[in-house]
């Protein structure tokens, strides 16, 4: 009974290792290769299902491309060569992380530019406010006369209220 429980506990404990490998019967030459190939396949998008990477997708094309990636890794090709192989056939679409090209500058730099623009506008606005606050307020002759008249009428009203 206790032994059965132990076996059960162990199998549950180690089951995550079984779950973590995709169901492809491909023998890698080395564990390193396997790690690199899986990482690459995780980063590449399936052209058909569009919202899954090559590992998650069940479509036949994803399976093919997956195996293609594995084979290329085992053949000693580096990541750039493999990504080149994929993009030359399926376009930049298969990259989850778009490349920095003339076409995608706006994508990469847009948010930064908008932030910079916002900061600039904010800065200018605050500076203007400060300059206005600091500026000594000079009254023209007309305004002085108006002010005097107002103060005078105020004083008269106050006198009136007192009576």
């Amino acid at each position: 009974m206790i032994r059965a429980l132990l076996v059960f506990c162990c199998s549950v404990l180690f089951s995550w290792q079984v779950l973590a490998t995709p169901v492809d019967t491909y023998e890698f030459k080395s564990a390193e290769n396997q790690k690199r190939a899986l990482a690459l396949a995780h980063e590449l998008r399936c052209p058909q299902c569009q919202n899954q990477n090559l590992i998650d997708s069940n479509s036949p094309i994803a399976k093919d491309l997956r195996l293609e990636v594995y084979k290329m890794v085992d053949a000693g090709k580096d990541d750039d060569q493999i990504i080149e192989f994929m993009t030359s056939r399926y376009g930049d679409f298969v990259l989850y992380k778009p490349r920095v090209t003339a076409k995608t500058y706006i994508l990469w730099l847009g948010p930064v530019m908008l932030l910079a623009l916002g900061l600039l506008v904010g800065f200018i606005f605050v500076r203007k406010q400060r300059i206005q606050a600091e500026a000594p307020s000079e009254l023209t002759e007309e305004q002085k006369a108006e002010l005097d008249a107002l103060l005078k009428s105020d004083a008269e009203q106050d006198d009136g209220n007192k009576k």
Binding site: I61, D64, E68, R89, G91
Partner: protein, 185 residues
């Protein structure tokens, strides 16, 4: 001037709005082909109807042609089949079939009973040529110029509308190009 500055955020918003609104109507299934402007990938495969006899990419040069990726397991291919048959009778452009990830016997059966619109059929059993062409489904149709350069790719079934709006004008243009360069050389 000052008043105009106040309109800048509105203009930015409108610009973004138009851009994103257009994005709503893009078809995510219509990917840009990475191969347009590139030559047909190098291949050497058997003919579908004559086992052992090879076709290579060199055989597809010299004439404007249409490459059509098809298979017996593909329902949309069955849908476009009658249209392709009609096209082949018109003799406008040679249609080369790429029988993609299929079995030879059922494929030949299908052509026998449904009619054969293809000038020639390339037997791409493992989908290797398909892979090199960036095919991710069937049917797909490629337009190839007389030098063997892929000039256009259409993913999905060809029908009258696609043909008259897109493919036919393009084929006419490519054929005019071919005639011009043929005259020049």
């Amino acid at each position: 001037m000052k008043k105009l500055v106040l309109f800048i955020p509105l203009l930015v918003f409108l610009g973004l709005g138009i851009f994103l609104y257009k994005g709503l109507f893009l078809n995510p299934q219509q990917l840009d082909s990475a191969l347009e402007g590139k030559p047909i990938p190098v291949f050497s495969l058997e003919k579908l109807d004559v086992p052992g006899e090879m076709i290579s990419n060199e055989d597809l040069k010299g004439k404007v042609s249409m490459l059509n990726v098809w298979a017996t397991w593909c329902p949309s291919c069955k849908y476009e089949h009658p249209f392709l048959l009609m096209l082949s009778r018109k003799n406008i452009v040679p249609i080369y079939g790429i029988n993609y990830r299929d079995e030879r016997d059922p494929a030949l059966q299908e052509l026998k009973y449904q009619g054969n619109p293809y000038t020639m059929n390339i037997f791409d059993k493992d989908g290797r040529l398909g892979l090199d062409l960036g095919v991710y489904g069937a049917p797909e149709t490629f337009l190839v110029d007389h030098k063997g350069i892929i000039r256009y790719r259409f993913a999905g079934p060809v029908d009258q509308r696609v043909w008259s709006e897109t493919l036919y004008p393009m084929i006419q243009q490519l054929q005019a190009e071919a005639a011009q360069q043929g005259a020049a050389s």
